[in-house]
């Protein structure tokens, strides 16, 4: 019995051991033969071949990797294209590098992301490519992206296909269209792809296909469409026999239609730019409208108040480098406070003594502007400072294929209107606004009613300067932030106030917008500088007709 039992146990254990080992063996077999594993290997081995490959071989490697459809293929291609991928000269290992402080580079392996070590610059070499490889890489990237899971990637890829559309892409586009129709149903991508397809079809031998392509291209506003159509017409006119009259006329009318639409687009774009410039001018001038219009003070240091606001933005960004988007929001009240405080100080120390002597005020405030400029130059240095634009300000918004408007301009327009409305509310609805208007209209009477006119003056000047500071925050997103920032805007701001009329926020709004739009509409015809000169001369002439501006104050307050 016992013998049988021991035998049985032996058999059982043996068999279980056998079974176990068989299992592991079969697992290994499956693993090696499994498809993904093999693809990874071929991908990895192709990657490893890159450093030593010639250009021709690299081309083959790209094709292999492209066919492998490996998930990291896109990363690799992009990396090679932008020159971010290196290899270690000694080991031929493909790596990423990151600079360290002691002029060496921390190198991490491309394949597994492990750190390889610290290397000197000359121990590493970029994976070199030539122009034809670059084109191939771009195509490969487009192809990989066209079938990507991510919508934005597919959009970008479709657009890049559109740019380089040639007959090589035909099958790719067709399969991408199928993929899209079955998968995402994204109309935009389908439109872009169909446009590319039609552009390729224009070169087809078959007149029916060509005619259909032209019909599809009607009202398509892509630059490529126009180029393609005009190329088609030129080609058709030379090789007249191969084409029939109908398609040429159709192509011509289509092209004319498109050009017409593009003209409208250009006008819309110019007006948009003009309104944006007007918004900037409005922001810059609105503070001046208060100090000049309401108080009759010529503040030549107004531009420097703008500059202080821009520098405040810079400082706030330095203080909170990890919250760039938030820093801009914080900068608005901060800039208001900084510039406003400086404004109140200037009013109390200088301008207070010069009321009723506008020309002297002009000189004194000019002196203040020089001091502020030099102060900023001494503290921050003469160079322009780098103010970062937050992500939500960047980007464009597409109206149609031929018209893209940038977001930052849109924000500036909205922002300046908000400031205008806010200021109008302060003037009309608050006690301070009431006192301010009272002092403007009749100083002795206001004073006898118990208003401290001196402090109202100081606060009014502070308000005007503070708004200049806010303008500085907005301008820091558009232009260079340097000590001379303010000077560029001071003359324009004066022009806006003088043109719009003194002491009237509506006048400032209309003045700023008309100057901005006039400038931008003339720019394409006359060039930027000449447009500016024309606008200046026009204002000088306009002042002759209406010396007090568009919306002039009437009555006794005028002569003063």
């Amino acid at each position: 019995m016992s013998i049988i039992r021991t035998l049985l146990i032996c058999v059982l254990t043996l068999s279980s051991v056998m079974a176990l080992s068989a299992e592991t063996i079969s697992q290994q077999v499956i693993a090696t033969s499994a498809e993904p594993k093999k693809a990874t290997d071929s991908f990895q081995s192709s990657v490893n071949k890159f450093p030593s490959a010639s250009y021709v071989e690299k081309q083959q490697l790209i094709d292999i990797i492209r066919a492998s459809k490996n998930e990291r293929a896109l990363e690799l291609f992009n990396g090679i294209l932008s020159g971010d991928i290196f290899y270690v000269k000694k080991t031929n290992e493909v790596v990423y590098r990151a600079p360290t402080e002691d002029r060496k580079f921390l190198v991490t392996s491309f394949s597994n992301g492990k750190e390889v070590g610290l290397f000197k610059k000359r121990k590493l070499k970029k994976i070199g490519i030539n122009n034809s490889l670059r084109g191939n890489l771009k195509n490969a990237i487009a192809e990989l992206q066209l079938f990507s899971e991510i919508l934005e990637d597919r959009e970008l890829a479709a657009l890049s296909i559109l740019k380089t559309a040639s007959s090589d892409h035909q099958t790719l586009i067709n399969s991408a269209l199928k993929f899209e129709q079955s998968n995402g149903e994204d109309e935009y991508i389908i439109e872009v792809l169909t446009t590319s397809k039609s552009l390729i079809d224009l070169k087809s031998e078959d007149p029916v296909v060509r005619l259909q392509a032209i019909k599809y291209l009607d009202k398509s506003l892509y630059v490529e469409t126009r180029n393609g159509l005009s190329g088609f017409i030129d080609h058709a006119l030379i090789n007249f026999d191969d084409y029939n009259q109908a398609e040429i006329t159709l192509a011509k009318t289509t092209l004319d239609d498109i050009n017409q639409l593009m003209k409208i687009n250009a006008v819309i774009e110019n007006i948009y730019f003009g309104v944006a410039l007007g918004a900037v001018l409005l922001l810059a001038a609105i503070g001046l409208a208060i100090t000049f219009g309401v108080m009759g003070v010529i503040n030549m240091a107004h531009g420097e108040m703008i500059m202080l606001g821009a520098y405040t933005t810079f400082v706030i960004q330095q203080l909170m480098p990890n919250h760039i988007g938030l820093s801009l929001v914080v900068a608005v009240p901060a800039a208001f406070l900084v510039s406003g405080t400086v404004g109140v100080l200037v009013e109390r120390s200088v301008i207070r003594h010069l009321y009723g002597r506008p020309l002297e005020t002009l000189l004194a405030t000019f002196g203040v502007s020089l001091i502020l400029q030099q102060a900023v130059r001494s503290i921050f240095g003469p160079l322009n400072q780098d103010v970062v634009t937050p992500d939500w300000m960047a980007g464009t918004f597409t109206v149609n294929a031929g018209l893209e408007l940038t977001f930052n301009r849109l924000y500036i327009i909205i922002f300046s209107l908000m400031v205008l409305v806010g200021l109008a509310l302060v003037l009309k609805k608050t006690l301070f606004g009431l006192q301010m208007r009272a002092v403007t209209m009749n100083r002795p009477m206001a004073s006898s009613m118990g208003i401290k006119t001196g402090w109202v003056d100081a606060l009014t000047f502070g308000l005007g300067s503070g708004i200049a500071g806010i303008a500085g925050v907005a301008l820091s997103q558009l232009t260079n932030v340097g000590p001379n920032l303010g000077q560029a805007y001071i003359i324009d701001s004066f022009m806006v106030v003088v043109f719009g009329g003194v002491g009237n926020l509506w006048g400032t709004l209309v003045g700023a917008m008309s100057l901005g739009i006039a400038n931008k509409i003339m720019e394409p015809m006359a060039g930027a500088v000449l447009a500016k000169i024309i606008v200046l001369v026009a204002i000088i002439l306009f002042i002759q007709k209406r010396p007090r501006g568009l919306f002039a104050l009437k009555g006794r307050a005028v002569e003063g």
């Binding site: 102060a375 200046l536 002759q544």
Partner: protein, 398 residues
């Protein structure tokens, strides 16, 4: 007072027509005498004494002083219109630069074949821009007399057109200042353009000679210096002549009460226009003398800041005194040369401080301050005597 006048009457015949202008103008007399002395002594010391002599005036110092004299003439022209007519023009930098450009164009044409490209007709920058012909507005500038006429005519015409438009529609005060500033700014932008045919960004430079004399030689420099001093004296006498005349008194009345003058029946705009044109021409002459001494004219001269700086020279010297403007221009520019060399960082602080302090505490400038100390009234003189007493008591105590 009456006694004085009789003395003046008896002096008149002996003095001659020019000198009568200086009667009763002590500051002016001293200024003219000083200028005559400088005009003779400086070139003499420059040419006659060897370089190691203590009496030697270096050509650099001579040119620098000549530059100051041009600035002084410019300040004089601003004082004439601001001090006596109350018009604060921020466009005089432009008139100065236009006069300078007219002179520069003549000097440019004198280069002839000696330019880098060796083209006898076209200045270098035109060859560089591959222009075929000389633009029409350059014709005539190879003649010295024509250029000199233009030095007066171009600023004068601009002042006429601009002033006629502005004064007729009663653009006054700050508005006038701002639109003249806009004019200057527009001209600056225009002259920066290459298409304008004035050398664009680089302006006109590399001058060789004037009327056949080498511009680099000490003799030519001395003559230019002498001419600047003479022009300043001439400008001073003309300004004095205008301000002493009946017309000058009308101008002052316009400054003090424009409406009242108008109601008294004077055509205010014609008076203003006249003085504006004269002033612009004086500024043009200053520019024309400035360019050959400095050797370059570029659109930077049009910068609006320059025009404001001129105003501050006048304000610091003493507005409405003529010789005060000359003193102010020379004093501020000397300080500028010194401080930009010694403490470059500080200069803008100082200039800014000057603007603020002079408007607050020296409303009548240096001349006014000296006068009030002499007469013993006003804040400045109280401060002066207070300090004097303090110093005396400290000395006495010690």
């Amino acid at each position: 007072m009456k006694n004085n006048q009789t003395i003046n009457e008896s002096n008149k015949l002996k003095l001659g027509p020019m000198a009568t202008l200086l009667v009763g103008d002590k500051g002016g007399q001293r200024l003219v005498m000083a200028l005559v002395a400088i005009a003779i002594i400086f070139p003499f010391c420059n040419l006659m004494f060897p370089e190691d002599s203590i009496f030697h005036v270096s050509t650099y110092a001579l040119t620098l002083t000549g530059k100051y004299l041009c600035y002084a003439l410019l300040a004089l022209s601003v004082d004439l219109i601001w001090g006596y007519c109350g018009i604060m023009s921020l466009g005089h930098g432009a008139f100065f630069a236009l006069g300078g450009y007219a002179m520069g164009m003549y000097l440019m044409r004198q280069i002839g074949e000696r330019g880098v490209y060796g083209n006898p007709d076209l200045p270098d920058f035109m060859v560089f821009l591959s222009w075929e012909n000389l633009p029409w507005y350059w014709f005539g500038f190879d003649q010295f007399w024509f250029a000199m006429v233009m030095v007066l005519l171009i600023p004068g015409t601009l002042a006429f057109v601009f002033g006629w438009l502005a004064f007729r529609s009663r653009v006054t005060g700050v508005y006038f200042s701002i639109i003249t500033q806009a004019l200057t700014y527009a001209l600056m932008l225009a002259f920066f353009r290459n298409d304008m045919g004035f050398g664009g960004n680089n302006g006109l430079t590399d001058f060789k000679d004037i009327l056949g004399y080498d511009l680099q030689s000490a003799e030519t420099r001395s003559v230019l210096f002498f001419a600047s001093a003479m022009a300043l004296i001439f400008g001073y006498l003309i300004s004095r002549f205008i301000t002493k005349s009946k017309l000058g008194r009308v101008l002052v009345s316009i400054r003090d009460a424009e409406m009242r003058t108008r109601f008294l029946g004077y055509k205010v705009e014609y008076y203003k226009l006249f003085i504006f044109i004269v002033s612009a021409m004086l500024a043009g002459i200053a520019g024309a003398l400035y360019v050959p001494q400095v050797g370059i004219i570029n659109p930077g001269e049009f910068t609006p800041i320059n025009s404001i700086e001129i105003i501050i020279w006048v304000a610091i010297g003493g507005r409405g005194t003529l010789f005060g403007a000359v003193i102010g221009a020379i004093a501020v520019n000397y300080a500028k040369t010194y401080f930009t060399g010694a403490f470059a960082e500080l200069w803008l602080f100082m200039l800014g401080g000057l603007f603020v302090l002079s408007t607050l505490y020296l409303p009548k400038g240096i001349v006014g301050a000296v006068k009030s100390i002499k007469e013993g009234n006003g804040k400045i003189s109280r401060l002066y005597f207070f300090l004097k007493e303090k110093i005396a008591s400290i000395k006495g105590g010690a």
